[in-house]
């Protein structure tokens, strides 16, 4: 359960924020809050592709498509099951 959220959360804390101890809540805004800045979005998309085999298009890298770990996990699961 929540494996996707945890994996991506840990990635963001360690690689994007460079604060490995920082816990990210599953409903915490990532993009609209500026927590994940635009320079890190490509890295996040590449990480997701490598880890979960799901491609996110560059037009989807915005808060309208996903803004929290929960929303991101839903998006990934819906594409994996296809």
């Amino acid at each position: 359960m929540h494996e996707i959220q945890t994996t991506i959360g840990e990635y963001i804390s360690s690689s994007v924020l460079k604060q490995p101890k920082r816990q990210i809540r599953f409903d915490e805004p990532l993009i609209s809050s500026g927590l994940v800045d635009s320079f890190s979005l490509v890295d996040l998309a590449l990480f997701i592709e490598d880890k979960f085999g799901v491609h996110l298009d560059d037009t989807e890298l915005n808060a309208q498509t996903f803004d929290t770990l929960d929303q991101l996990a839903n998006l990934i699961q819906s594409r994996q099951s296809k």
Binding site: K18, I31, S32, S33, G34, L35, D37, S38, F39, L41, V42, D43, L46, D57, D58, T59, L61, N62, A63
Partner: protein
């Protein structure tokens, strides 16, 4: 002697069907805009400015995103003889309140007669206008006059004079927005003539750019120069580029692009974040210059970019440099496009303690410096000591310049204009040295932080930090530290609080991160909350940014050991 409107008239007459701009949007087909269409779209705005009673010589602020409206409203202002100034558009991570405050700051100094924006944004603009009486009209993009060919004989832009102000450029943040660089028609053309010569710009060139138009590099090199020279421009946006950096390379390949300008970090960004599958069939052999400008230039960044893309036809000679600033319209120097920029190793100790760039002997600790090229034919560069006296070759001092394309002044800021000059020389605030005519930029006198090509005033970030509960005014310091991997600076904020409790300090750090990012749209890499008496001050009680930076770096080093 000529003006921008006269140039537009001649382009409209000479090459109406040639494409001026290929406008790109992620997920949509490219939109080619020929000169005739460009003038028709611009004329809709010119007629709208006239309808709204805007007079020639009055300032119009454009608050629009990348797209046709931004392009047409800009050239429409030129046709009408009004003075356009492009303000960055609100981003989703910036709080609307702060954006309005920045806009109010801009308006209070610039006193524009009109603001152009989208209908959805009209209320925010009107909110920011409260308490100011200069703006007579908020023009929304869905209530324009219809498009038609301009009647060049009668438009008011044709009656502007070469020495009249043609546009304003601002840098970002509360501080930057209060200093609009005012440029004349003549200054713009003098710059374009000298800069085009340095590039050997001609009809076969194609410029590919994603740079924002509110910044000099994007506005001049990536917008005005191609359009006014009849050179096609392939124009994308920073918003799209940062999400799909490979598209820059695909566009160069597709349109046989010859020239691009990039801030230093973009070389690292492209080298690190583009996968091979996005480069299938890409051919970069048409790219004759990719010019590194607006951040300190790094040989390592060029090297990484070249290694990553050389198998796609990228030429080593294509990697070039320039030193530029809005106050000189754009370019101050340009490297010689026929060979790679000069790179040399200087003695680190002599640089630090004697302020001299002496070539390093084999066994001495050295640092690599890359030249930004020689001054343009119309620009002279001098290096001055702290008393304003010229220094010898290879001695480090403040770069000062003189040219026939200098700013008319900071708009409505005679005080700031006066302070910027010394004996007829413009003081750049940058440190550097000259050797055999080549200009090497070594750092900044001002405390400005440059992240991803964007200038950030540390005092803006410090004031925001004081707004966070638990932080007292005067007890925060902001600065940039160089990030080798990213090729640009990381922003650091240190705040002193009364509490020594780590949990409470962590909470305040988190609050600072949120508040500063929300109000400046700048991501912070390090936020360090410390107990009393950490921050170093000068004897007069002022915060010494460089001393605090050194202390921070020492502690960071110790932690990483």
């Amino acid at each position: 002697m000529t003006t921008l409107s006269e140039r537009l008239q001649s382009l409209h007459a000479r090459i109406p069907e040639r494409v001026a701009v290929y406008l790109q949007h992620s997920g949509k087909p490219d939109l080619p805009i020929a000169y005739r269409q460009l003038m028709c779209g611009a004329n809709a705005y010119a007629l709208t400015y006239q309808r709204e009673g805007i007079r020639a010589g009055e300032v119009v602020i454009l608050i629009l995103q990348h797209g046709e409206d931004l392009i047409y409203s800009f050239w429409g202002a030129i046709l009408h003889g009004a003075i356009p100034s492009i303000m960055p558009f609100l981003t989703e991570k910036l709080s609307p309140e702060r954006y309005r405050a920045d806009l109010s700051a801009l308006i209070s100094v610039t006193k524009p007669a009109a603001v152009v924006t989208y209908p959805e944004f009209e209320n925010d603009v009107r909110e920011a206008l409260k308490g100011s009486d200069s703006v007579r009209s908020v023009i929304v993009t869905n209530k324009l006059a219809s498009q038609s060919d301009p009647d060049f004989e009668n438009i008011s832009g044709m009656r502007r004079l070469p020495n009249d102000i043609v546009l304003l450029q601002h840098s970002s943040g509360t501080t930057g927005l209060q200093k609009g660089v005012a440029l004349s028609h003549q200054a713009v053309f003098n710059q374009l003539d000298a800069y085009s010569r340095a590039l050997n710009l001609d009809d076969n060139d194609v410029i590919v750019s994603w740079l924002p138009l509110y910044h000099d590099m994007g506005l001049i090199a990536g917008f005005l120069m191609p359009i006014l020279s009849g050179v096609p421009l392939v124009l994308s946006s920073p918003f799209d580029w940062v999400r799909a950096p490979y598209r820059l390379l695909q566009s160069v390949s597709e349109y046989k692009g010859t020239l691009s300008w990039l801030p230093n970090f973009a070389y690292n960004f492209c080298a690190q974040k583009i996968r091979d599958r996005s480069l299938e069939g890409v051919d970069l052999s048409s790219w004759r210059a990719v010019i590194n400008c607006s951040e300190p230039v790094r040989w390592e960044s060029h090297q990484a970019f070249y290694e990553r893309f050389k198998s796609y036809g990228l030429k080593l000679n294509a990697l070039q440099t320039s030193y530029a600033m809005a106050e000189n319209v754009f370019g101050v120097t340009q490297s010689d496009l026929s060979r790679p920029p000069q790179v040399e190793e200087i003695d680190r100790e002599a640089f630090m303690s004697e302020r001299v760039a002496r070539l390093a002997l084999d066994d001495r600790p050295a640092m690599k410096m890359m030249s930004s090229g020689k001054p343009l034919s119309n620009t002279r560069v001098r290096v001055l000591d702290e008393h304003g006296k010229g220094v010898a070759q290879r001695v480090i001092g403040e770069l000062a310049l003189q040219s026939d394309c200098m700013l008319t002044g900071y708009y409505n800021r005679a005080d700031a204009t006066k302070k910027a000059f010394l004996g007829g020389w413009y003081l750049t605030g940058d440190f550097g040295y000259v050797s055999n005519g080549e200009v090497f930029v070594t750092g900044r006198k001002k405390d400005m932080i440059i992240v991803g090509g964007k200038n950030i005033y540390p005092q803006d970030l410090e004031s925001l930090t004081y707004e966070v509960p638990g932080v007292h005014a005067g007890r925060s310091v902001a600065f940039g530290i160089f990030d080798e991997a990213a090729g640009t600076e990381d922003v650091v904020i240190i705040a002193e609080v009364d509490s020594e409790d780590p949990a409470q300090q962590e909470e305040i750090a988190e609050a600072i991160r949120r508040h500063v990012t929300k109000n400046s749209a700048i991501a912070l890499r390090y936020v360090k909350v410390v107990g009393p008496k950490w921050i170093l001050k000068t004897s007069s009680g002022k915060i010494a940014r460089s001393a605090n930076k050194e202390k921070f770096l020492k502690e960071l080093d110790a932690e990483n050991k």
